[in-house]
Symmetry: C2
Subunit: 145 residues, 2 copies
């Protein structure tokens, strides 16, 4: 077959992801929020009081990452962790007042970012892009059983 470096679609996806993430990082810097920490906050702004393992599922991430990011967010004062009544293993994440206020400032920035990324791309094209990404994900999932 002899593919060249530039032929691998996964490499293009990877580069795009790095590029977008780097821009997000820049945009969020003034809020003392890292990109992945922001993903946790986005979920909490939608639904407060999620448990760590629920976040791990939503974000497709290892529970160790969630634990450490949650710990960092707690240190920054944006969330509080509280044990779940009825299951002493679980921890629930709650927004602090500061965390709630942060949402009012960050969400508009996130939406503006999404606008920027999608500039000049139609709704149909966006759906097609999502469809292809989903297809690739399921292809890999399949191959791994």
């Amino acid at each position: 077959m002899k593919l060249s470096f530039t032929d691998y679609i996964s490499i293009k996806i990877h580069k795009t992801d790095l590029n977008l993430t780097s821009y997000v990082k820049e945009q969020l810097k003034e809020f003392n929020l890292a990109p992945e920490q922001n993903l946790i906050m986005m979920l909490l702004w939608e639904k407060d009081g999620l448990e760590q393992h629920q976040l791990a599922i939503h974000l497709n991430k290892d529970k160790t990452n969630i634990a450490r990011m949650a710990s960092n967010l707690e240190k920054k004062g944006f969330i509080k962790r509280a044990p779940v009544e009825g299951d002493r293993r679980s921890l629930r994440l709650f927004l602090t007042e500061e965390g709630k206020e942060l949402g009012n400032k960050v969400i508009p920035v996130a939406e503006a970012f999404n606008e920027t990324v999608c500039k000049g791309i139609s709704k149909e094209e966006l759906l097609e892009l999502e469809r292809l990404l989903t297809k690739m994900n399921s292809n890999v999932l399949c191959a791994r059983q």
Copy 2:
């Protein structure tokens, strides 16, 4: 606007990238090669003797990462670093015999991986995907000036 978490295209791209990278990592484990180390090797298998700063440009990565990954690849015995004649600042990366042999084993795995990812996706769809990713990249580039 009120976007939901699942509406952000950047998050979908990010998740896809993580998923693909995680599969690559699994596939490369037996060769003692991490995914990003493999990208450097792929470039060297195409063109031996590249300099570190050239790799940084090809991979859109900070030079610090390249330096550390190159150092790791050297420790593993896959490459040797040699100063460039005529410019004592630069380092050139050369494949060792072991590194060259590794290519014969890894390249087929990489191509099979690409096949898996693109299964059921037509050439036209792939081109469209690339076009949209490129568009998003230039959108962000534009916004950052």
